[in-house]
Amino acid sequence: MNRRPMFLISCLAFGFAFFYVPILSMIFFSFNKSRLATVWGGFSVQWYGKLFKNSQIIDAAVLSIEIALVSATIATILGAMAGIALARFRRFRGRTLFSGLVTAPLIMPEVITGISSLMLFILMAEWIGWPGKRGFTTVTIAHITFSMTYVTTIVQSRLSSADISVEEAAADLGSRPWQVLKDITLPIISPAILSGWLLAFTISLDDVVITNFTTGPGATTLPILVWSKVKLGVTPDINALATIIVVIVGAGVAAAGIIMHRTDKRREREVQLAIKANG
Amino acid sequence: MAEATKEAKPATPAPIWGKGAPHIRIENVSKRFGDFVAVDNVSLRIEKGELFALLGGSGCGKTTLLRMLAGFESPTSGKISIDGQDMAGVAPYERPVNMMFQSYALFPHMSVEKNVGYGLKHEAMSDKERADRVREMLDLVQLTPLAGRKPHQISGGQRQRVALARALACHPKVLLLDEPLGALDKKLREHMQIELANIQYKTGITFVVVTHDQEEAMTLATRIAVMDKGVVRQIGSATEIYEYPNSRFVAGFIGSINLEDGVVDEVSEECTFVRVDALGGVFRARADKRVKKGDKITFAIRPEKITITRSKPDRAVNTIAGTVNDLGYFGKDSLYRVKLANGEIVSVNFVNARRAGENERIAQWEDKVWLSFDPTAVILLTE
């Protein structure tokens, strides 16, 4: 009976090696003195220094974060609205189309989303004179469109697994539907909204393809900059940039994991105590 | 094999259903999960053809013991043998044992027929023999018309019967049943109890049932082992554990009972006199060789063995006066909670043999009543 877990555990070990060896190798070579990114030439942190002096990279990073902040926030608001509508409003006109529209961007190949958005913006500029030039606004709109549906999915699944009788109880105790939404439903979905925002933020920060189509001259996001540099080959400063990103994300995910773990533990302990107190 | 046969003691009185050596031997079996002792040095012998029940509350170790018989857990120490064969290191799929799971564990992607025939795949038999066996099993549990259905298309009671047929199909030497009737409603449960006992009788397979429901254990089983905190507290027939419990725990666990501390006042050839301060007097019990004068014992009496009357009965040897503190009507009987002069409460069951309206009851709230009982009704617990 014990042989199969051994096989599975070696598969896990192999799988995680596959996941992390490339990343670790990248981190390792970010401390390479040599300009040749794949040949070791001694230890150095010079590339990190150069990175922080490179105003092009800093500007691109700032622009990316600005776009991600704005688009994630709007996407979360719109996405949560759509999630609530689909999970709680049983019948309204055009519901079928609406639920289709909410899932379609998730599976639409990015290239198609990219060219269709770009064609829309060009034709709009042609016909109604807006948007005058492509850049921050057009990229943000495109990011909102495809990241809001992720938020919708998260909020909708949270709401459909939540106990609806809590909301019914509030209505029974005299709350009007709008108050029920405000006092009960929103607090219930607040964790989903938070994780939806984080996901929308990450997706926006990470996007290359759609940004590539919808952006214009002068508005280069960090992924677009990296994309154009990577096309030319491996360079040590990209290694350094990648390392910084991996460390930030790793720390963030680890922190979130620890907080969740602690909350779980505390909850478990409280439940145990409650059982003991009653029993 | 040979060793086990040699070890078997011919001195063991063979019960009517047994033929020689015990079928299942559990010797000094313990199971620990970390610090937690789930099963603590349990020894049991189960005879061939018995319907044996492991009865206890949740966490008493009964399910762990069953899972050790099935081979899903291995004992930390001790030995389990089935039909003379030591089960140590024998995988679940190699054991001559099948299990009916509490959740039934029917394969959701297979039809009723496929479920029942699943275990037969591993046996050397022709397709025809296999199909015949499945049909035979479905006939046994009366599910032939539903052979093509999937588990989610049949009712809870039918699922239970599929699980039973599936477990019986491979001719196990022992059938293990984990809370077999737990998920059924009351009516269906009563019906299935009888059906299970019938099937056990027809097939002659040894059944080991785990249950927390004493009624289920008592109606089904030929013998019951009462478990608590990993330990077997008493083994016996339903009558034995109900009428002759060996401890406060068993007495209190099976049915309801009035338990009071007492001291043996006097011992004679015919009877034992016990002083019970809580009941305010000295009461007569049957002669009991285990006790002597001055012994501290527990004086126990079941509520249905106490008679309740409005006036003091003339002939009764044990009488107590009290007032009705509370009463509950359950249809076939009523429960009276009678308060004695010192505040002690005694529970009494009154069988509603006569039809009587609410105003025609033998006693109402606050009525003065007399309780009386026969010396044979008293249980003296020395533990």
Binding site: R4, P5, L12, F19, P22, I23, S25, M26, L78, M81, A82, A85, F89, L101, V102, P105, I107, M108, P109, E110, I112, T113, I115, M119, L120, L123, I144, T145, P177, W178, L181, L205, D206, V209, P223, V226, W227, K231, G233, V234, I238, A242, I245, G250, G252, V253, A254 | A70, G71, A91, Y93, E94, N98, M99, F101, A105, F107, Y118, H152, A167
Partner: protein
Amino acid sequence: MRSGAARWFNLNGWRDIIIAAPYAWLIAFFLIPFFIVIAMSFAVTAPTSPPFAFGDGFPWIDMRNFARLFGDWLYVRAYLTSVWNALIATVLCLLVGYPMALGLTRVSRSWRNILLMLVILPFWTSFLLRVYAWIGLMGANSWFNRGLTGLVNMVLPADMALRSIPMMNTNFAVVLVMVYSYLPFMILPLYANLEKLDQTLNEAAMDLGSRPWRVFLDVTLPLSVPGIIAGGLLVFIPASGELIIPSLVGSASDPMIGRVISDEFSSARDWPMASAVAVALLFMLVIPMMVYQRFEAKAQGEDAQ
């Protein structure tokens, strides 16, 4: 007046706003662009700005793009390469991801949380950088390529010894990086599915005489089909339309369809042709989507009964 608006909001307005706002947004920025692509696929290029024109007479439809699509070997080949690469990547993801997902359900609870976090972690880091990491590994001078070359040379006779393995700019590289990038999309739905499976079903099969491998084939595998399909589509669909990976590590002479769309649009400025290729790609993906939908609907129907 203000109190009137407030009353409207409290009564029904809030509900209308919640539906209308995201609805309007999606129609404006997703549905309309989608229709533009479809309409554009029936247009032809023109030396105007924007560079397209519709046919003169009713119904203004021009099928030239689609005729070219099926007539020109370049496009057919790009579709085949895309499907083939995506299919291989999906199968490899399944082969690597299934035992990992199953392994995750078998380790202790605290380990499981850590390992799940490690599966998700690369997903949160930049997609681009994950592709980039492999560019570093696959280059002819990298330690990885040299090590691999060394291993291969141990088997090869001396006169056939390689100096390095040409990995970059091949379909092999595309598939490898796709597997690497999309593996979490396979593992996570599979894990969610496997974790929900009732362990007593395994015990029941074992109790009825099945050895572990048989239990896996009879119980675990058939019951995890929904997870396999979900994971497979989550890998296959984005992989077949992938643009970044083939652009960075793929061969230029054997492009995938995403790259063809992008090139037609940006380099050739042939909007109608790019749209036609895109519409054809969608048609190709509609089939797996419908399979998935039917499967889901069937599974839900069974649950409901």
